[in-house]
Amino acid sequence: MAVSTVPVSTVPKRRSSALQTLGLGLFWVLIVVILLYVLFPFYWAIKTSLTSSADLPQTALSFFPPKPTLENYVTVFTTPSFLYSLRNSLVVAVGTVLISLVLASLSSYALGKFRFRGKTALMYIILGVSVFPQIAVLGGMYTTIQTLNLYNKPGGLVLSYMIFTLPFTVWVLTSFVREIPTELEEAALVDGATPLQTLFKVLLPVMMPALATTGLLAFINAWNEYLFALTYTSDDAARTVPVAIASFGGGSQHESPFALIMAASVVVTIPLIILVLVFQRNIVSGLTAGAVKG
């Protein structure tokens, strides 16, 4: 009896630990599969960008670049229209971030700390604008931009980008301002500070983390925008990186110089990836704040 009970009681235990090891192994396989899935397309782009255009037809399917070369990167950085597009994108994205942060700081102070009639209605309108399909204003805005003489100018893109950066920035900053203790503001008002002084000298320093997060997300959105950039620009004077990359090589799909396109793609993506990795905590919190709050 005693002899027979020993195996009976140990077998399930051994099986469960074997199962656990198996489970852990499967788990690691799963992690590796996810990593491969998520990173492979980017790896493939880097690999292609390191292959010379002449060799590409022969070596397109090999998993490593047989003769790594930087010639595509040299070509990309000596193509004037690509350099112009980098400059335009930088101007547009920085301009969009600065203007939307200034406007949103002012209005989030009003929405977060003041009581007035029509506030809820205004919040509804701002939320409504944030889900506006860009296509709904594409035609109407075309005439506005032409009337203001902003067609094919970075200013025209900055103005049009307000439709998606401003509502988001106002939302997130408002929910942040609301959490700032009212005592801080009252103390400043008692000391005789004007509302603008209160905002810039007292509240803004406290708001820095939220400003950084929303500014970063606005930058990424402006840097990546395509539909307006495609429609409201016509040449190197205002064309941004996404438009340049989408139209790289121009002609038919078969003749598209993919090695060059991949090099340009890697060039414009690396700064974004670094930015995202450095600020990943801010970005995750900003995304979830934006999604949960509206």
């Binding site: 852990l24 788990f27 996810i34 990593l35 998520v38 397309p41 980017f42 493939w44 782009a45 292609t48 397109a60 399917l61 406007l103 002012l106 209005s107 102070y109 009003a110 929405l111 003041f114 009581r115 007035f116 009639r117 809820t120 919040m123 509804y124 409504g128 889900v131 506006f132 399909p133 860009q134 296509i135 204003v137 594409l138 035609g139 109407g140 075309y142 506005t144 049009s160 401003l166 509502p167 106002v170 990546n224 395509y226 539909l227 429609t231 990186v241 996404p242 990359i245 989408a246 799909q253 078969h254 396109i261 793609s265 990836i273 990795l277 990943q280 970005i283 995304l287 999604a291 949960v292």
Partner: protein, 315 residues
Amino acid sequence: MAISTGSVSRPRRRAGIETTRARTAMWLLLPTVIVLALVAGYPLLRTIYLSFTDAPLNSNSGPTTFIGFDNYLFKGEDGTWTGLLVDPVWWTAVWNTVKFSVVSVVLETLLGLMFAMVINSKIKGRGLLRTAILVPWAIPTVVSAQMWAWMYQDNLGVISQWGRSLGLLEAGQSFLSKTDTALWALVAVDVWKTAPFMALLLLAGLQGIPADMYEAAEVDGASKLRQFFRLTLPLLTPALLVALVFRTLDALRVFDMPFVVKQYAQETMTMSIYARQNLIDFGTLGYGSAVSLLIFLIIMVFTVIYVTSLRVRFD
């Protein structure tokens, strides 16, 4: 007297402060309101107006006349109906968009949930995984479209090569160039790009579930599977719904990725692509505005349903 003036003047002073505060708030909001009116309000009103006209994009090409609902539906002299509502290409675009949105959002949710649960488990390497899944999200949409267009390329694309070795494709064919698989090839790109975003939203929801609830379930002898369906899923539902709605709104508006990869090809034409083709390429601002307005209404109906059913709170 003194008492009555006191009681009269105090409310008046308080009202004065309230009025001043309200006026200050108005000045603070003014720049934002002006900009939003300029980029959203006015263009939207203009789109509504233009949708009832035959306006051309280039104002030099002719005068604009008011034509009522003719852009939407119009009975010709020979008794045939024309207009947006009977345009087969529009309905193809609608159907494509719906198929694209439903399938990609469902797949993104399932995949995102899996990513989120793996990252949320107490295993080594999850930090690395969380960082890695941010990469597809960080890549600009146009860039990721080009990257996938290259992998889908007819002869040299690596995915076409896999398709050939699996016997799914013939030489010179790709999932993108075959009309019956093109839309699904684009769904794959969208899923790859946005499942990580979904995972981040769901991860926040998962981390909000207190650990002692799992301990209690463990003590009660609930299996992992049971814990998932009875504990994780119900508690995750709010986060799941919000993420689902956001992704659906995005998917219904999709333009960039299918346009960069397939331009105006009908098998992958979405509502937004159809609108832009009419607005800009065909230069029919009036008809294109009718399309835009219809898209706007579809999105708004969806949003209203969402706001009311989820009871989004504002204050």
